[in-house]
Assembly symmetry: C2
Homo-oligomer: 213 residues x 2
């Protein structure tokens, strides 16, 4: 009982050398992503800033791609959390209004986390086929949309048409705006958060009008 040395060593969490290197690499990776942008993200730089040799990350990630996938996963988790919270918050509203709020939440996320969006949906992940988990996470938002539509059909506020097509219609529109914003294409990227929200609201209204019975 006196000489157990295996667990008591982790006194200073600021010295990674042992212990929590993997999460430290992920955190530093997205820190670089947010501050320097997407071009500055190199495995060597991440290792350097975390104070570890450039070969060390290879004990925790198969390659650079694996690190990026981990960052993307965090992004999807964050996005899904915000969407679920929106869904909860708007529980009392009718389907079209909830639908609208979900779309606005997605776009708001994209505006606030551009770099995340680039990593989540851009071409940084070379072999996405190897990571089917990612695709499932993307579907998290779709599920919320379809549930909302279903409730809308039950209460008679949404037309009794194919849910999947309707959900995809909304997701695609909202995703399109989001990517144009994240990649700073088109004038819409220069709007501030409030302007973007108003404009997006009008766009979504155009779509919702077409989904009513």
């Amino acid at each position: 009982m006196a000489s157990d040395s295996s667990k008591a060593e982790k006194k200073h969490p600021e010295r990674y050398h042992h212990g929590n290197l993997k999460p430290a690499l992920i955190r530093m990776g997205l820190e670089i992503l947010v501050s320097e942008g997407t071009e500055s993200l190199s495995l060597r730089e991440v290792a350097r800033r975390v104070g570890v040799s450039h070969a060390a990350p290879y004990r925790h990630f198969a390659d650079k791609n694996a690190l990026i996938v981990s960052i993307a996963e965090e992004g999807f988790t964050l996005l899904n959390q915000e969407l679920e919270e929106t869904s909860r918050r708007t529980g009392g509203l009718k389907a079209p209004e909830r639908f609208r709020e979900l779309g606005l939440a997605y776009i708001s996320f994209a505006k606030r986390y551009k770099q995340y969006m680039k990593v989540m949906f851009g071409s940084f992940i070379a072999d996405y086929k190897v990571f089917p988990d990612l695709e499932k996470k993307v579907l998290g938002g779709m599920v919320l949309l379809e549930q909302t539509l279903q409730a809308g059909q039950a209460e008679g506020s949404i037309a009794a048409r194919d849910q999947r097509v309707m959900a995809f219609s909304c997701w695609s529109m909202v995703h399109g705006v989001s990517m144009l914003v994240a990649e700073s294409r088109s004038e819409i990227a220069r709007m501030d958060e409030v302007q973007l929200r108003d404009f997006s609201g009008l766009m979504i209204d155009n779509l919702i009008a077409g989904l009513r019975p």
Copy 2:
């Protein structure tokens, strides 16, 4: 008259050493892009395949980014051509149907030229701010949409609401599908051309229904 030597030399167009290096680099760049994908596109590799030293491209492009911008510009030109041809071809139809065809043409382009779309809208172009021309080319499609909407309002087939919002609604939806397809996100990317066209048609119909008076 006998000894003019300045123009008569270009006999063998297959020897780039003099002459048309710049277009050759652009062509080879997108050839690599299409065959090997987006990760394999390095300036040195382009130079190598064109049979020229790795420093030679720098006489024609300021940096790698400039080459990529040139490729993206070709992509935009191609996309705009297809959209304009669609617009011409559907001259006899009413606005909602033309609107629909324009959207389908955009998505069809994205399906057939994934790599182009990645370069045109992805994060490969580091300093897009330096190239406002690109943004103008993006707007080419938007102009067609707005014109169509205007005609629709004149003939009474489109609601008398803000054209810009309506055009953006359509562009965003269609762009969203296109990027999900180009980046192979979501199940929609696994559809073949016919399936994708049918599904997209239904999505666009949802939107058009909301744009009617």
